[in-house]
């Protein structure tokens, strides 16, 4: 057993040396110290005992005694006192180190939040400001002290400019739906200056889904909006400047071809009509570009009204009847009973007009065009199919792209802009619907458009789209 102890002791000591060589007391030093101390104590006891003149045997026993004690005493001290003590110290040190790392990290994050240029506010579940960063002070003009403790988003601070409906939706989203609210808001700085901001407010939830805090981030977009406005104005101006000379050509050619300034020879008449056609293409292109720019700048206006899609379809067929008749085409109409839907009639008209016009244009003489409007419980489904040239399968994926026209279309009719379907797709999707098609070259195409029966969402834009015949 002694042998076992010493083996273990050796192992421990080695282990101890390796691990704790950096710690306060070297184990070897302690061992020697203890050994010496115990030996001396024993020796002193012996000296004391000397007074009583111990026998030699007794002296030997005492020495043996002290050695055994030392051999047993040290390990016990080591295992029960020294080692646990050192481990405790080590734990304390580790904890301290961790806390220090956490503190450094927290300091980093705090600095990141505090000094970022963007505006960051942290509030309690009722919107009372708990922490604001420098960005807030910079953007709103209010100081930290003026904000903390007050409710964010009110007239007292930099908010309160939006209508009731806005704030209602805002609180519902973050407090009851517990979702992130992203939107544009108009606020007012301390000095009275109004500005536009992009805000995102996120609820921070506990493990049991209770709202702990709200984190609100604001970005000043006044400059962006100013640039956008400038862009839109340039396009408006450009289109106006372009349309004026185009109108002049249109009206002068009209006078020429109607004989108001003298009769034209047959050739002159033909040439004048050719000028008119080219001019009309330019007008259509300018208006399409205007539409594209309005869609891309997001300035499209959607004004939903109770509309009967079937009436729009019928009215459009009426408009196209002369074209259909001159091409000796057949038109089949199939309408199911459909309720009036809350949609923008102008936009709906543009959608059907474009697809129908394509069907007529890209179908040869004596072809058939079918228009079907069905009630599919959640959506209205408009299907327009033709027996025309179809779209080559290799080019089908590009059909909705801006300015794209399939090769066969370009051959048959040089006049399209390639913008029609791009615009239609954008309108359909912005109105909450879907558009897709099937087509086989030289067999025909079928276009499908769905429009939700619950209608379109009203969209505050600044522009209507141009109607292109």
């Amino acid at each position: 057993m002694l042998w076992n102890w010493s083996d273990q002791k050796k192992k421990n000591m080695e282990f101890g040396n390796r691990k704790k060589s950096k710690l306060i007391i070297s184990p070897t030093g302690l061992l020697i110290f203890l050994l010496v101390m115990i030996f001396l104590i024993e020796l002193s006891i012996m000296l004391v005992l000397n007074f009583y003149r111990l026998s030699r045997q007794e002296i030997l026993v005492t020495i043996l005694d002290s050695i055994i004690l030392t051999v047993i005493f040290y390990p016990i001290i080591y295992f029960l006192v020294y080692r646990p003590f050192l481990m405790l110290l080590r734990e304390v040190k580790e904890k301290e180190a961790k806390t220090e790392i956490l503190a450094t990290d927290l300091e980093k994050f705090k600095m990141a939040v505090d000094y970022t240029f963007d505006h960051i506010v942290i509030t309690d579940p009722d919107g009372i400001a708990l922490h604001v960063n420098h960005g807030v002070e910079h953007m709103t003009g209010f100081s930290r002290n003026e904000i903390i403790g007050k409710k964010v988003g009110t007239k007292e601070l930099w908010g309160g400019l939006m209508g009731q409906a806005f704030y209602k939706k805002f609180w519902k989203t973050i407090k009851y739906d517990k979702k992130v609210f992203v939107g544009e808001i108009n606020n007012r700085r301390k000095n009275g200056e109004e500005y536009a901001a992009q805000i995102s407010v996120s609820p921070v939830l506990s493990k049991d889904q209770r709202v702990l805090y709200f984190v609100g981030i604001e970005r000043d977009i006044t400059e962006e909006k100013r640039i956008d406005k400038a862009k839109t104005e340039i396009i408006s101006l450009a289109s106006h400047q372009l349309l004026t000379p185009l109108t002049a050509i249109k009206w002068y050619v009209e006078m020429l071809t109607s004989g108001d300034v003298g009769k034209l020879t047959d050739n002159q008449q033909k040439y004048a009509e050719e000028i008119n056609r080219g001019n009309q293409r330019m007008i259509d292109l300018v208006k399409s570009l205007l539409n594209v720019s309005r869609i891309e700048l997001g300035t499209l206006t959607i004004v939903p009204k109770e509309t009967q899609i079937i009436d729009i379809a019928k009215s459009l067929i009426n408009e196209f009847i002369s074209q259909i008749d001159s091409k000796k085409q057949k038109i089949i109409e199939k309408y199911e009973k459909l309720p009036k839907i809350l949609i923008d009639p102008k936009l709906m008209r543009m959608i059907i007009q474009n697809i129908l016009s394509n069907a007529i244009k890209y179908t040869p003489e004596k072809g058939t065009i079918t228009i079907k409007i069905e009630n599919k419980s959640q959506n209205a489904l408009i299907t327009i199919s033709d027996t025309g040239y179809g779209i080559p399968s290799k080019q089908q994926s590009q059909i909705f792209q801006k300015l794209f026209r399939a090769d066969n279309a370009r051959q048959k009719d040089t006049e399209g802009t390639g913008l029609g379907l791009y615009i239609v797709k954008a309108i359909v999707e912005q109105s909450g619907g879907k558009i897709w098609f099937d087509s086989m070259e030289n067999k025909g195409s079928t276009f499908y458009v769905t429009m939700p029966l619950i209608g379109m969402v009203k969209k505050e834009g600044t522009k209507f789209l141009e109607n292109i015949k």
Binding site: S239, L246, A248, E254, D260, V286, T462, K469
Partner: protein, 133 residues
Amino acid sequence: MELKDKKLLVVEDEQPLIDIICKKLALLGFKTLCVGSVKDAIKFLKENPTIDGIWLDHCLLGKENGLEFVHAVKNHEVWKKIPIFVVSNTASPDKVKTYLELGVEKYYTKADYRLDDILKDIKIVLGKGELNE
């Protein structure tokens, strides 16, 4: 419809368009006068309050635009009865709405209409008829 001697005021700032509009109107028997700014138009109305109709563009010479002109006309005891046809290339939704609310007969986007079509409507209104939308 007796159009002879019906007088029309054309308020338009683009010279080529003035020429063609007045030419067409004259061919149909109207008597026309063209001015290029709101100031001139008001001056003309003061001297000739009994004109039968006004063809109005929105963008004009000078500071004032067509909208301000319509305001002035519709607020005048005598002038407010004169039918106004707004023919312009700038068609922002609010502008169109405002013009119609102020009581103009119709708003035409120039590039969309043939002269014949606009004049057909003018003939109807001046013949004391009503335009159907």
